[in-house]
Symmetry: C2
Subunit: 375 residues, 2 copies
Amino acid sequence: MKKIAQETSVLRRSFLKKAGAGIAAGAGLAAGMSFAAPAVHAQPTLRWRLASSFPKSLDALIGPAEAFAKMVSAMSGGKFTITVHPAGELVPAFGVLDAVQNATIECCQTAPYYFFGKDDTFALATAIPFGLNSRQMTAWLFEGNGLKLLREFMRNYNIIDFPMGNTGAQMGGWYRKEIKSLADLKGLKMRTAGIAGKVQERLGVQTVSMPGGEVYTSLEKGTIDAVEWVGPYDDLKLGFYKVAPNYYYPGWWEGCANCELYVNIKAYEALPAEYKAMIEAASARAHVLMQAIYDAKNPIALKTLVAGGAKLHRFPKDVMDAAFKEAMALYSELSAKNPRWKKVYEDYSKFRADENMWFRFAEAGFDEFMHAQRL
Amino acid sequence: MKKIAQETSVLRRSFLKKAGAGIAAGAGLAAGMSFAAPAVHAQPTLRWRLASSFPKSLDALIGPAEAFAKMVSAMSGGKFTITVHPAGELVPAFGVLDAVQNATIECCQTAPYYFFGKDDTFALATAIPFGLNSRQMTAWLFEGNGLKLLREFMRNYNIIDFPMGNTGAQMGGWYRKEIKSLADLKGLKMRTAGIAGKVQERLGVQTVSMPGGEVYTSLEKGTIDAVEWVGPYDDLKLGFYKVAPNYYYPGWWEGCANCELYVNIKAYEALPAEYKAMIEAASARAHVLMQAIYDAKNPIALKTLVAGGAKLHRFPKDVMDAAFKEAMALYSELSAKNPRWKKVYEDYSKFRADENMWFRFAEAGFDEFMHAQRL
């Protein structure tokens, strides 16, 4: 891996030299022309590697990273190419942060909350239980203080981050048996992770960590009772509905899941201004794309799941209320012991209060009416 | 105006020639180098004009167009500049479509439904009563058949369109008196427009068209009884709450309002591939931006409006039900007489049914719970 980085670095220096020559030649060409043209200057040829935390099979997640890379290449006339590598190809799924931090690779695509073990603050860049929904998250990032605060935090990891996709509100997962009240969660063995797992444990759930490939068999055998994944489109591929048909909503721990592009700060700062702007615009294009993919594909997948035997249930109110209470208690505890969390969460939670005050009127009023119609 | 276009065209030819010279020189420079570099080639210097349908004062609407232009300039190293002109500066607000169609200017930013008088199909690119919400619209455009169908339609006007912003669900406007039931709409004089106006007329509303500058005084005097505008952030600036304090929601005629960038198809096709990609990425960045601006600013503005005396009301159910029924009847009539509308609306309405089937579970389940909390 280090070797790859060195080669890239050597190439980069070569091309920067060449770019210098290009500028001189361009200036000569322009001389004597009657219009006020900028000098012909060539941009450096760069090849970056992007490691994804997602496998090739989760196309709605990794697809936008591929679209991002393709867009940068198209805008730069093929000079700035970024090769996209699925989880495990260059580095393991959860090794991408270290690899970018250490400049082993230039960038990665990930869901920041995977790194909550390093610092819970990472979760605020993706989702926390009872957090912002997709539009609210995007608004906080781009027009609130979100991206500013997260970038300040990410500097500790030599990284600058760009929002690059969201799944929207997720489902609450697949359960072998119905959950009729909070009591049914006590002792339930569930594959789950992150801050969501911390809240679920406070409700009596026994959280289990296991490789994705073992989940189906474990559910079938009853070694575990439940699993949370994403939503209809991704869930359908994994077939959990065949062995744990009770499909709960809403996924209160993921009102959205923001994904990000992480770029090594030194690699980023060495870029010409044009390429920096391309990263910003192309990642925004990919940001739009991921949410659009999920929103377009989930309905079709949900129909297939229901036709295949999935039973849709809303979480009982006592489960939601208890989870909300425990989540808020956890956030207070985190704020008391982690100043980085506290700084970002204070802004996040204030924004969340304002957003929910407003969204209940025009947005929810419109949506509720539409949901009740026969369309 | 024609003169401007001619000058631009002359400049464009000059720069294309120059770009050709640049390619030759670049190829020479690259010869003999050991790495597989693309030739140094210069992109043409272009200056485009973008006319907006929005005035400078509506910064949440015109701001994203300015951000789009700035982003294209940054990505092209200042070679592809697009100057943004508020409504009336180059062409009148509603003259932008003709100006792009006739190549008087290269592009414009507008809300396509302004042009429903030319063809009702334009409305499907922005909003129709009881249509898609913001996320659903973006999904239809980017991952459904939306953009494909709209581009086919727009070819009739020599235009290619790019989604570039959305306001989200709008409010239902300002009323001097409370609307307690459908009966209160009979004879109501309201400033409104577009397909929304057609539906309102079927409910007995007397729709009035008047310049924006006269609305406040007309409301104050009682010459009109109501006005619909956008949502809290824009509405606050206009001060309607002082003279017509009853603020209704949801704006059933605008579950979202998609804005677009219209580019003259010949001007677009003459662009190098790099610049085409820049337009796509930068317009997507601006698309994210507009919705984020509204979502971030509306809550603050709503608080100010309520503190200033605005009274929030939900439209009575009989108003909503009657409006829905009339809207669906209108769409059937349009489908019967306009094949262009029929083709796009058939796809749009199928997508809408699927979206609302799905959004009621995870999304609405999450949002409803959050709206009920004290945050």
